[in-house]
Homo-oligomer: 330 residues x 2
């Protein structure tokens, strides 16, 4: 019998489709060997091609040159100049597309990926995330800062060189506001953060845990929307990613890289997105919300049912997926 599971924090329902369920190893993407060069003359992110790229907003270097850096997106979805003027004309509501859109170039090496980097290198990337997160949050026109990474074609990447993106938007989308409100409601009813509660129970039950470190827990969601849908939560209650400490930056690098490496080897380099969900800038710290990093491997497709109902059909068992990843040696 299929199960319909609810995510306690987001209130989203997911159908765990037992009739269609596949074993964790059936989700392997059987990606062919990496045939990319370590450097590409035509890649705007490779060292030496900077002439085609806008100036840096943050850079981490060693004696050999830059190791990771952030730059303005050359084709930004939003533009840094201007005010967030709102216009209302009948059904038409719009505002000028003011905002900040930057790219984090994660490494000078063209043909690598997070899973294959050193923890220390991933730490540099997360330090840039923090610095730019704080800078974008301080712009008074920005209401929400979203950090995300697209890996692979089905995850929406157009450039192969390892990179992630940060976007500051002048609105808090309803999708996020809803999560904030649900978390407030849970706090109202129970006097505790719903994410802290989820983490505690996951650590007690253990069956969906992928990995635990000093400061973080990574686990497959009980109501995972798709196979291997994973959350990484900081153990210390913090609502804003901007508050991540140095020690947590190093620890997040470790758990993120290791979790992605388990997916890389276990599922053979699947396409994925990850995103850092943090409280809106106006809220900052709060007792009810908790920032987290969500990883969504793109190994199945969403179709009309998902688009139409907002419910998801997951053809894997979260408990089996977590057990499988725990067993992957890296």
């Amino acid at each position: 019998m299929p199960e319909i599971r609810q995510n306690l924090a987001t209130k989203e329902w997911v159908i765990i489709a037992t009739e269609r369920a596949r074993r964790p190893e059936d989700f392997k993407t059987r990606r062919t060997e990496n045939k990319l060069p370590a450097r590409s003359d035509t890649c705007p992110f490779c060292p030496g091609n900077e002439v085609n790229a806008p100036g840096e907003t943050c850079v981490i270097s060693d004696e050999n040159g830059w190791k990771a850096k952030s730059v303005p997106n050359k084709y930004p979805a939003l533009q840094a100049d201007g005010d967030r003027t709102r216009t209302i004309k009948g059904i038409k509501r719009y505002m000028t597309g003011v905002g900040i859109h930057e790219v984090i170039i994660e490494t000078p090496v063209h043909n690598t990926t997070t899973a294959l980097m050193k923890d220390r290198d991933v730490e540099d990337i997360i330090r840039i995330y923090r610095e730019r997160y704080i800078a974008l949050s301080e712009d008074e026109r920005i209401e929400l800062v979203t950090i995300f990474k697209n890996h692979g074609e089905s995850a929406g990447t157009s450039l192969e060189h390892p990179h992630s993106q940060i976007v500051g938007t002048p609105v808090v989308p309803q999708h996020i506001r809803l999560r904030i409100e649900e978390a407030m409601r849970y706090f109202d009813d129970n006097g505790e953060c719903v994410f802290c509660r989820m983490m505690k129970e996951e650590l007690r039950e253990k069956e969906r845990i992928i990995l635990e470190t000093d400061c973080f827990v990574s686990f497959i969601l009980y109501a995972a929307a798709s196979p291997f849908h994973t959350w990484i939560l900081p153990k210390r209650h913090t609502a804003s990613f901007g508050k991540i400490s140095d020690r947590e930056v190093a620890d997040l690098a470790k758990i993120l890289r290791t979790t992605l490496a388990k997916m890389y080897y276990g599922l053979e380099n699947p396409d994925f997105n990850y995103v850092i969900r943090s409280s809106p800038c106006d809220i900052g710290e709060s007792d009810s919300f908790h920032w987290y990093l969500s990883i969504m491997p793109r190994i199945t497709k969403t179709a009309g049912f998902e688009l139409g109902s907002g419910m998801y059909i997951n053809t894997s068992f979260p408990e089996e997926s977590a057990k499988f990843l725990r067993g992957v040696k890296i």
Copy 2:
């Protein structure tokens, strides 16, 4: 300068990315010629292969045999037997996956698609939608009935034979509840249905209209989430698709087929999903909600930004897309 547009009915924000905008004709998929046979021995939906398919729940025939029919899904996401027992254990909330999942086999012909059918044949399909919609709604365990179609691989189809699906779920997902609540709020404030208002203004402005018939209007959304994102709205205020009249069934067949044909010829057979959004079974008719059919061509990919923020980036101008489709001769 990019524009951030809001959908008045759903309150969703969309970035119309002017810097990245493409012309309507740039979205052509350049699909190669249809090389499928008119009948396939291995297709479970082709006439003569019924031995492998479950029994019919509704069938429309003529002297040559069946023209369109509905059957239970052989691999249902939800199961028809059992009660919707809900269990709460700590963070784990689930209910038994009771529900109804049927497939509508749209035609005996293996290698056709809605755009290439006769209006009269599409009418048969919509008559089956109505009949099964009403039947599923009457099951007291069902809270919401969703009808959808996946066309093409990137829209999530696994079978080529033209078909659509109908799913009755024992919950109203938050995604739908939110839309119902927003519509109620608009009605509260303005004393009119927000969808009726949108339709009136679209008909007055004309620039996003694709087609108007006696009973329906098809238009590209002002805040289209992706290129060519289209709504077809009935002119008569009705909240439940189950209330569609015979005259409207025939008229919907015409506007749906013609709209899809304009996309088929203008964009060269793009993959797409469509979905019929109707009020939850418990609500039925209401002054504030309005059923509609939403078409989403799958010609761009959603990535980490969309997954993370719930905002969409659209690289086309809705007004240009509508003008382009109006000009497509079929």
